[in-house]
Symmetry: C2
């Protein structure tokens, strides 16, 4: 692996970090999911996240009252822990939507400046 790839990869990781909670709340706002399916959905939009990141994060969001969960049997293996977003979670999500918009706007205006 050359040095360039390393720097870029590291930064892509950094960028993803910032939006992990946000994107998980977004996914759960659309419907209940279990950890593995959340990871899968994120992968589909090129937001790669490890199991060791996801499980602690879901537990954290649960503790904060933004999520709840229920167990559901599966014929494909062990039972699944389906997470769902709470009312508080939806409130917070609205705030994060705004934060994301603001950040995107900020980056955009710096970008325009750097091309002037």
């Amino acid at each position: 692996m050359d040095i360039n790839t390393g720097i870029i990869e590291n930064n892509k990781t950094q960028m993803r970090r910032g939006v992990l909670e946000y994107s998980i709340l977004l996914i759960l706002a659309a419907g209940d999911e279990y950890a593995s399916s959340i990871i899968q959905k994120l992968k589909e939009v090129n937001i790669i996240v490890a199991e060791g990141t996801t499980y602690p994060l879901l537990i954290r969001l649960k503790k904060l009252g933004l999520l709840n969960y229920r167990w559901e049997e599966s014929t494909q293996g062990p039972p699944r822990k389906y997470y769902m977003i709470t009312d508080l979670g939806r409130e917070q999500l609205a705030g994060l939507d705004a934060a994301w918009d603001e950040l995107a706007k900020g980056i955009d205006s710096i970008r325009k400046g750097s091309k002037a």
Copy 2:
């Protein structure tokens, strides 16, 4: 400070973290700046960053060869360390542009999904 503000503020911070290196490179691509002026420019677009974050970050980017600097006298106080982006820095910046676009696209498509 209520609990809601806490969660949101924490997340805004998280989001900013991911794009700090990127936005600093963007600013320096538009012209040489010293640390305090970089912080000021970021503040203008609502990306708040502390001194204790910025200085080590600039040093790190210098060590990676993405930046260089020169000293310049000032009549308003101590000399200023003007940072400038290197050729390698511009290369990396192109990669980060792409990474940002990809991330923004990813978030966008999750957002659309969650409104369906």
